[in-house]
Symmetry: C2
């Protein structure tokens, strides 16, 4: 009777981590699955791969053929909207906090421009003492900064606002990723051009065929915004803005303009298409909130998650990610009973400002129905809201900025699915 | 006379960072290369890539075809030593601190075993209360930790001890990389088996055909050692030990045993081949130091570096990496006059324990001869030594553990090469 031995830290099977220790020793082998051995470690044949030399070093490595093939998933594409669309990160298969560059989510409005850096310029003009144009080579000469930051599309998790049925964590929440971004502080380049006293906004425009443009308040531009040229150590990938992108830590992804080619200092927002007809938050009375930039405190259980199947009652590790545009993650709580009771999860990675944090907690599933949830609290003291709270505040017409608690239902056959409670 | 305007912070052209500001405004356009524009930003044609939509999202991304193709470099291979060898990280082309998984250096003693996790076991036996064997699935249930750590082969930079002529930074120093490693604290698994009081060492063995084995002091095993299952968010790559490796932060790479299959608790070191005939430090009197585990404080200028060519006198950014097995990097100094004078470099990334730190400093090259060096100081107060200091301490027979200051010579034609001063 394993359950009897385990101190419950919250309802429906959430147990204390220290109960994982000694599992091999107390007849709980079935829980850990670890096998008790003869002292000489006998009973295991030497596998074939240990009997013969394998291939040597290679110029560029690849994942194991025995590991699941990690891929971004694409939504539908619209023939009237060439190059438009998104692809999502396979969060259900990743651990830790870094997203490999090939798996970082994408969102494009006119596809990926094939930019030759030799022909690309970054122009700073408008309300400046002296307009300037920088080549890629110019920018490589400036001091840079490296930070690990999350990036999240403001449309991420929007399907839950619309009551989407089913879906896995990649489809529902895969528009968030995390990488080390290396670039020049935007304030350094703005100081080069000399910002005029009357300037209040920076209009950022990309070199893609959509001329993706967003207006950035000068205060943020002079704070922690980067012109990013490198991503996890290598040049920014084409789908992330090669040769350069704006990176606005903690803010909705769309304002981190990719393929950045112009920064125009202005008195007022430029009212670009993507800050008027899109990327605004429509309220119940059909008024729209504009320029809601920061991403809210949020967390997700990534495993087990939607469309997974649990083989049977026993011990599982619940793990997931948490992040906040307002700072670092101070706490993540987990519930296995739909929010009636909560237990603190272990934070498996160091607290980093505006970066993903990994959490986990052991769960002893008794084989019955369960609803798994996580709830994050950030360093500013903000707590992740329920879906009802978000719908009450934003109405049912909202498409963007949904930080709501995700509920994963587990039924008695072990099927995990997206549910609303 | 640009040089006249610049405050020298050390000899032979090292300048204060603040002089990078305003370069576009003070007739120093030639220094920054930035172009003064008409206020409307005119004079730039809209490039072809901005005139038509590009391709949409993809399942797995790739670098830009316009960026230099980043590849690991392999040394010679020996037909009598199948699968043996190494490949090196292209440090001269990377920025920031993270090494992409496909570019992380490799070192194999019998090639890469093609391990199916379903047939792999991690056995803990020897001086334990209860021997145990863990499957991959078992281990995935344990709490994990994620940390960004460097990994360096103790043979890295050994060619400099032997007075190697020429060579680029990848060939000379490319056996160091940095990644986010996610795994289970080894102490957790050892507690599972119950370490006997008389145990002092842990003999770790890999599942490769070389049965690579190393002996690890119990104190370190119970401190910060991980059984790592993930690397930069995805499963550990085959060449890094898939499905699992030992990871001993700050210690020579060879002891972070890959394809880990056995941990045997013992009273004394096992005296494996790779801690007797290899990976020992032979002194001048032919005695050998054994078990010199920690990697010393070290730094390198990665650009400009060996076999590069500077196009002409003017402003350059000197950048590189620093790390220490004893903690974080507190300071990096740079010299452009062969060590006669030094200036503090900017640390571009946050100080992390046992991880790479990125540094940079601007350099105004006057077109004459120069010798570029960097010198790191770690949080323990240790300062990176000169080559002469290392040779005096370790003699001329040493092959491993060379943390010496690298000197890059620049001649009047702009050619950069490995020199000894």
């Amino acid at each position: 009777m394993t359950e009897k031995k385990l101190e419950q830290v919250a309802g429906n099977g959430l147990i204390n981590r220290r109960h994982l220790l000694g599992m091999g020793l107390t007849g709980m082998g079935a829980v850990a699955g670890s096998r008790v051995l003869a002292a000489d470690g006998s009973g295991f044949e030497i596998p074939q791969w240990s009997r013969q030399p394998g291939p040597g070093p290679s110029a560029y490595g690849a994942p194991s053929s025995h590991a699941i093939a990690l891929q971004r998933s694409s939504g539908f594409t619209n023939p009237l909207y060439p190059g438009g669309g998104a692809s999502r990160t396979p969060l259900q298969h990743l651990q830790g906090t870094i997203t490999p560059n090939s798996l970082h989510f994408e969102r494009h409005h006119a596809g990926i421009p094939d930019i030759d850096p030799a022909g690309h310029r970054l122009v700073i003009n408008g309300l400046v003492r002296q307009p300037l144009a920088f080549s890629y080579e110019d920018l490589l000469k400036y001091p840079m900064q490296s930070h690990v930051y999350f990036l999240e599309c403001s449309g991420n998790s929007g399907a839950l606002l619309r009551g989407a049925q089913g879906g896995d964590v990649q489809t529902l929440h895969g528009l968030v990723s995390c990488a080390e971004w290396t670039g020049i502080q935007l304030s350094t380049l703005l100081d080069e051009a000399g910002v005029s006293d009357e300037a209040r906004w920076v209009a950022a425009v990309g070199a893609d065929a959509a001329s993706m443009g967003r207006s950035l308040p000068l205060e943020k531009a002079m704070d922690d915004v980067l012109v990013a040229l490198f991503q996890n150590g290598e040049p920014v990938r084409p789908e992330q803005g090669y040769p350069m992108r704006l990176f606005c830590p903690g803010w909705e992804g769309n304002i981190s303009v990719k393929w950045l080619t112009q920064l125009k200092l202005t008195r007022a927002p430029a009212q670009f298409r993507d800050e008027t007809s899109k990327y605004t938050d429509t309220l119940g009375d059909r008024r729209s909130l504009q320029f809601t930039f920061p991403m809210d405190v949020k967390s997700l259980i990534t495993s087990p998650s939607g469309e997974m199947s649990l083989p049977g009652a026993g011990l599982y590790k619940l793990t997931g990610i948490a992040w906040s545009g307002a700072g670092s993650i101070a706490r993540v709580e987990v519930s296995a009973d739909g929010g009636r009771s909560w237990a603190d999860a272990l934070l498996e990675s160091e607290a980093r400002d505006k970066a993903l944090t990994r959490f986990s907690i052991p769960w002893q599933w008794d084989g019955g129905n369960a609803v798994l949830q996580s709830r994050a609290t950030d360093s500013a003291g903000s707590v992740q809201p329920t879906r009802d709270t978000v719908l009450t505040a934003r109405g049912t017409l909202a498409n963007y900025h949904n930080p709501c608690i995700q509920s994963w239902g587990v039924n008695s056959t072990g099927e995990v699915s997206n549910v609303y409670v």
